[in-house]
Every structure is written in structure tokens, then in C-alpha cells.
Amino acid sequence: MVSDFDEVFSEGMTAEERLYNAIFGKPIPEWEGYAIPRIEKFRRFQKASEVFNRLFQNSSTVNKFFYKPEPFQDACGGSVRIYPEGDCESLAVFENREALSELSELIKLVDELEVSAEEMLDGSTSIEISWYIKDPFEGKPES
């Protein structure tokens, strides 16, 4: 899914133009003032997704989800739900400098990060860690 944003190399185009072309299949129009900030949103989403995957790649009790921006104007993000192992509590551990640096990188990339604990139907609790990147024109008219 993240590979949808791989850049198409084309001589004479800027990186932003190449990415717009890869997403929409056409050259970026000169008047498209909304495209560049949204391309930045996609870049952040791609990097944040990579960091997020690395942070939780080794755990067996997680479910990861990504919310890709569709349509183009949407916010985007990801989340992970961590379940208890046996009768123990649910745990998300960042136990070395490398993990803390990755977590810091994620916090820098996103607009919002939420950590929550929720009771499940069987009485145990799970942890959810969610992050969001807002659309730069959220709440603003485009015309």
C-alpha cells in the first residue's frame, strides 16, 4: 500500500511533480495550488507508516491498520491495537534508545498521536496507539 506513492522518474520534473503524476496519472496543472501541500501530507504518511511498521514489526499480539487518504482530501493515519498475552496486562514496550528515537520520529511526523486503553468484551483491556495527519485544507473552502 505504501508503494502506491513510489515516485515515477521523469526527466525535467521536480520531485513533487513526479509524485503528483504517479498519484493522478497526469501532469500537475500550473494553477493547482492545493496539490503541493497535499503531496507533503502523502510524504509524511509514507514516512510515518514506515516508522510505525518498524516499531511494531516483531510483536505477535498486534493488529495494525492504516487509513490511506481517499479521496485525496482526507486526513490519513494509522493505528495499532495490542492485546493481552494470556492473563497479563497489554504492554507496549520501547526499551532502548533506538525504539525511543523511532517513537520520537513518529511524533514529529504526525499531527496527533493518541494512546488509549479500552476494556474489551471479555473483561480484559487492550491498548490502541493511533496517529493522524490532517489535510492541510481541512475546514477551508477550496474555491
Binding site: K108, E112, V115, A117, E118, T125, I127
Partner: protein, 130 residues
């Protein structure tokens, strides 16, 4: 020296006989570690201050070689507890916090007495190790 890699300072000093000079070394290490612990606790107090049913704890010990631990927890009555980083100020404080500590753990569990869902942020500042 390489035989002591992974050893804590106390063991190293016992085997090398550096006890005479150890007090000042411990004091310096301890002061630096305690400063980090106090800074981490201050950040958490500021961040959790506005949350309902939140509390921050820090357990002081005197030994520079031992790991120091602290925690902050949030609980509600409705089976759901959370904290959020959703503005630049909170982001700055969170990044500062992650620079200061050596490890964190996020834990969710049910309080056995109150049956409330508790979300805890545990943190650790390590004692000195070679």
C-alpha cells in the same frame, strides 16, 4: 576492562578496589541521574495535569547504579482511558521526555479493586553500566 562490559558500577569497583575514590564518582553520577528523573517527572506532571483522574509518581532511591523508575497513570469510570499529543506544545514536551528517559512501557490493565481500566506510562532512567 573489557571483562567488565555489562557489569554495574558496584561490581566493577569491588573487583578493582577503587572504593576510596568511589564516593565522588557516585555522587556525580547520582546527581545527573536524579536531575533527569526530576525533569521527566515535571514534564509528566505538566502534561497530565489537565486530565481527569490522572496521577504521576516517582520513587526515589539513593543508589546511583540502580535503575530509577517512575510512572503516570490515567483511569476513568467508563472502561476507556487515554492521553493525546495533539498540539505543538505537547509534541515539544513529549520529545523532551523521550530524550531524557532510557525506556518506556505503556501498560493497560484493570484495577482489581475498582474494576476501572487503568492506562499507565512507566519510564526508566538507567543506573550506570559499562
Amino acid at each position: 576492562m573489557s571483562n567488565f562490559c555489562g557489569t554495574d558500577v558496584e561490581t566493577f569497583i569491588r573487583y578493582t578496589g577503587l572504593a576510596d575514590r568511589s564516593n565522588q564518582v557516585f555522587q556525580n553520577i547520582d546527581a545527573e541521574k536524579m536531575e533527569r528523573c526530576h525533569k521527566a517527572t515535571e514534564i509528566l506532571k505538566k502534561s497530565f495535569d489537565s486530565l481527569k483522574n490522572a496521577a504521576v509518581f516517582f520513587d526515589e532511591t539513593k543508589n546511583a547504579t540502580k535503575n530509577q523508575r517512575g510512572m503516570a497513570f490515567v483511569m476513568t469510570d467508563y472502561g476507556y482511558s487515554s492521553f493525546r499529543i495533539d498540539n505543538p506544545e505537547k509534541q515539544k514536551e513529549a520529545l523532551k521526555f523521550l530524550e531524557i528517559v532510557d525506556a518506556i512501557a505503556i501498560v493497560s490493565e484493570k484495577d482489581p479493586d475498582t474494576k476501572e481500566t487503568v492506562l499507565t506510562l512507566d519510564w526508566r532512567v538507567d543506573g550506570v553500566r559499562f
